[in-house]
């Protein structure tokens, strides 16, 4: 079944684009021919019922699946402006991950200090200069709206913070390396409403600087934070369009059923 893709009238510059993307967990085909644009400095939400392949799709962008044997990509995801295909086998997944950060469902700070958590991406990139590190950590923590809360205890263990703070820390960690895209996989599903609110706000802010791709199972959240929405079902992209359109006048019956809660 072909996807219903409604491109915006004046499309913003493309940041990435998946082309005929199939994905296999061993013999199981979890993604089926996904074609989808990702626009620069916009938030794109992936929605769909549990098991439809949202996370699978998201994790293709930073080649997270490479960590597990038997996981296989087919097709391509092009990154703009240089148009490199991140799934191409000559491309080092580590390089891809250096350009595309990720924030996970459950906050997963390293059991290290707050400072070291944020600085980690920089260290991996070879940055050793302490003052550069300090500046970038501060900027990232400010960007993640966490600086005021933690500036006096940068050496405390990150795992002793609250869930919401931990998730913001993970966002700071992802921001610190100036990525081109940040992937969010249900970043608020382990958080309470207040923490959720602050993360949503944050996503709205960081899109000034970086392109965001976010998986969520919460329709309201998708509606609140995203500019574009993709509805997936059974490994296929059913519908893609501007968020307002998708939620107000979905083109497909399936999308409408899902959005109105009649199903799922």
């Amino acid at each position: 079944m072909p996807s219903t893709i409604t491109l915006p009238q004046n499309p913003p510059p493309l940041k990435a684009e998946s082309k005929n993307l199939d994905f296999y967990y061993g013999d199981f085909k979890a993604l089926k021919g996904i074609n989808m644009p990702v626009y620069e400095n916009k938030v794109t939400a992936l929605i769909g019922p549990s098991g439809c392949g949202k996370s699978t799709f998201l994790r293709c962008f930073n080649r997270m699946h490479d960590l597990y044997p038997g996981h296989r990509y087919d097709g391509s995801i092009h990154l703009y402006p240089d148009e490199v295909d991140v799934l191409h086998k000559s491309v080092d997944p580590i390089e891809v991950r250096m350009r595309i950060s990720m924030v996970f469902q459950k906050p997963n700070p390293f059991p290290k200090s707050i400072f070291e958590n944020v600085a980690y991406g920089l260290k991996v990139r070879g940055e050793r200069n302490r003052s550069v590190l300090e500046d970038k950590v501060e900027a990232a923590l400010k960007g993640a709206a966490l600086w005021n809360e933690v500036k006096d205890r940068l050496d405390d263990l990150a795992v002793n913070m609250s869930g919401g703070q931990q998730q913001r820390l993970c966002i700071a960690r992802a921001l610190a390396t100036d990525p081109e895209i940040i992937l969010f996989d249900e970043p608020t599903s382990a958080l309470d409403p207040i923490a959720t609110g602050s993360i949503e706000e944050l996503v709205g802010e960081i899109k000034q600087k970086v392109t965001v791709l976010i998986v969520t199972h919460n329709m309201q959240q998708a509606a609140r934070v995203s500019d574009y929405t993709a509805y997936m079902y059974l490994g296929e992209l059913m519908e893609f369009g501007e968020t307002n359109d998708i939620f107000m006048k979905p083109k497909r019956k399936e999308t409408e059923d899902y959005i109105t809660g009649r199903f799922g």
Partner: protein, 323 residues
């Protein structure tokens, strides 16, 4: 081992000016370079992992090499059927069964202590004791396995044997019973600790199922927890058996090293292990039949433990935890 960081910080690492094939080639080059480093590390790690294999190969090689010379002097048939073991005497006999009988008898005595006690302790700790009790008693029990075995040996000889002689006045000063009992106590923690781990790994939902039927702790333990943890418990038993069969110093010190073909624990006996140290204690004239004998004995011991380990492997495969 510090790994050189990827060359540049700004993204992308490959300049935008490059295009098409050249670009991909440059990507491939970077990837290769990193993969070489990683492959080198992986190789080193693999090397470390194979040390254990080399150890086994070394053991098997040494045992077999010496045993081959041994069996060129002593027919295998004699080795397996002779009822005397006097390899260093003028009238030399090489009946491994003499040592096997000692090994088996002492192991049986030890296991008769360790398996029931260890199992009961495991059941108690995992199903009856409260959290606090378990967290204090289990470590305390595990200390038992930390005592050097030579000390257990003297404990058996100087404390346990005289006590036993009060009960059995006929008991000789060196006997398998006392050594076996002490060895059993030494093995308890191995059996108890591993069995308890296995029992605790049984999911609570299974226990709840049983309790919900109105059963008591005992009924739950026996009917549900133990069968569910069976393969883990079997591994614990196998480890206990390997320990018993391979234990050396307790037997060397307290069991008398008397090579007679007997299964009576009330008598002194030599085991494979105690024979090896006994000879090692004295002389090891490299290349002599005496030297080769301990390797032949060692090979028999190795085969014996291998049998148990294979049995354990099979048991684990056959009765994988099914919950």
């Amino acid at each position: 081992m510090a790994i050189a960081p990827p060359d540049a910080i700004p993204n992308p690492t490959v300049p935008l000016s490059l295009g098409g094939e050249a670009r991909l080639a440059e990507f491939a080059r970077l990837k290769k370079a990193r993969q070489r480093r990683e492959a080198l590390i992986e190789g080193l790690l693999l090397l470390a992992a194979s040390v254990s294999v080399l150890t086994t190969v070394g053991i098997v090689y040494i045992l077999i090499r010496e045993s081959i010379s041994f069996f060129s002097h002593v027919p295998l048939w004699d080795f397996l059927t002779d009822t005397q073991w006097t390899p260093l005497f003028d009238d030399a006999h090489f009946g491994i069964w003499v040592l096997m009988s000692g090994t088996l008898t002492s192991s049986l005595v030890a296991l008769a202590v360790a398996i029931p006690l260890g199992t009961v302790i495991a059941i108690y700790l995992s199903e009856f004791a409260g959290h606090k009790t378990r967290e204090t008693l289990k470590p305390l029990l595990e200390l038992l396995s930390g005592v050097p075995t030579i000390i257990y040996g003297f404990f058996a000889l100087l404390v346990v044997t005289p006590l036993l002689q009060k009960i059995f006045p006929e008991l000789p000063g060196f006997n398998v019973l006392s050594a076996g009992l002490v060895m059993g106590v030494m093995i308890i923690p191995y059996v108890a600790s591993l069995s308890e781990d296995a029992m605790r790994a049984v999911p609570m939902s299974l226990r709840e199922g049983s309790y919900a039927m109105g059963s008591t702790r005992f009924q739950t333990a026996v009917n549900v927890v133990v069968p569910a943890a069976f393969s883990g418990i079997a591994s614990a038993y196998i480890l206990g058996i390997s320990r018993a069969v391979g234990e050396t110093m307790i037997l060397a010190v307290a069991a008398g090293m008397q090579p007679t073909l007997t299964f009576n624990p009330m008598e002194p006996a030599a085991t494979i292990t105690s024979f090896i140290v006994q000879v090692a204690l004295g002389d090891l004239p490299h290349g002599s039949i005496g030297y080769q004998t301990i390797f032949a004995a060692g090979l028999s011991l190795m085969l014996l433990t291998l049998c148990f380990n294979l049995a354990g492997y099979w048991l684990r495969k056959r009765f994988r935890e099914a919950y």
